[in-house]
Amino acid sequence: MKVIIVGGGKVVYFLAKVFISKGYQPVIIDQDKDECLWLSQELKAVVLNGDGSRPVLLEEAGAREAIAVLAVTPRDQDNLVVCQLASKMFEVERTLALVNDPENQEVFHRLGVSVAFSTTHIMATLIEQQAGLEEVVNLLPVAQGKMTVTEVLLHQGLPSVGRSMQELDMPSGSLIGAIIRGDKVTVPRGPDRLQDGDRLLLISTPESYGPALRCLMGKEV
């Protein structure tokens, strides 16, 4: 099964290796002549030197029988054109493109690319998930620091888990603005109970921040 990869550098090298190990036949199109030499020595793959957004080269690479085309150059415009030519001229079913400007992810979808991925977006999500592992994430000081918005992650064993808003007795000057449960966000009312895994949006003055956290977590974090 043939897969065409347009781009250069280590990304292409490792992508091709992965594909080879899974039994695909990658064909690489790279603009850089020296890199092409290196890639052809290192990999059991066909390597073509040239501009992958030229129809001639795509055809030569065997676009007609390819099951997918990946465009991973650092230039969004090239990645888009590669994918579009592959699907319009050579009827390649799956086209995948790297987008550098995260805004282009949506643009590419609209313009017919099957999968557009943004490294910026992926990295941001990873950092976000990483941050979620900790119990408290300071979000934002607002109104010149007169208010803080904090996100608190609840887990089993904390004194607040299982209790309702009414039972919690939050100190004055603090408020649970929202409960984020899975992908649902609710503004809590008195009878709502906190659960393991909930993420809370805690709004408080700097003075009541400590007491509020103690109330939720049983300790000052």
Binding site: P55, D101, V107
Partner: protein, 154 residues
Amino acid sequence: MGICRQTTKRRQVNRVMAKSLFIVVVGCGRLGSLLANGLSGQGHSVVVIDRRAEAFDDLSAEFSGFKVVGDAVESETLRKARAADADCLIAAAEEDNVNLMVAQVAKDVFQVKWVIARVAEPARELAYRQLNIETVSPTSLAGDYVLRSLAQDK
């Protein structure tokens, strides 16, 4: 009342200028600067975009439009140039792929009615005509011209 009178007058003034279009030109190279100068000279409202500020040196002293420095393949740059309000966008950058991408973004995302892209490579041009993008290929134009004049000489 004052306002009503002004509104009628405003309409009259705008009708006089009705033929003036709002045109975004992407790329201020040889073709882009020629078009920007020409269109501005014809009284159209022109915004020209280029990645390099030095490119604007090619604009004539009479150019009366706006200059935006930025990469037109980023939507933010097109927003800066107010592409959504444009009557026409001409993608005249040096690179074919920039033009092909910008033309499509202008058409599909910014809903510009009239979009023209300069595409040097004839094979690519052919492919994109099918996508309803109006393309101009200097290569094909020059080629056709030479072939036609040779045929006449025979």
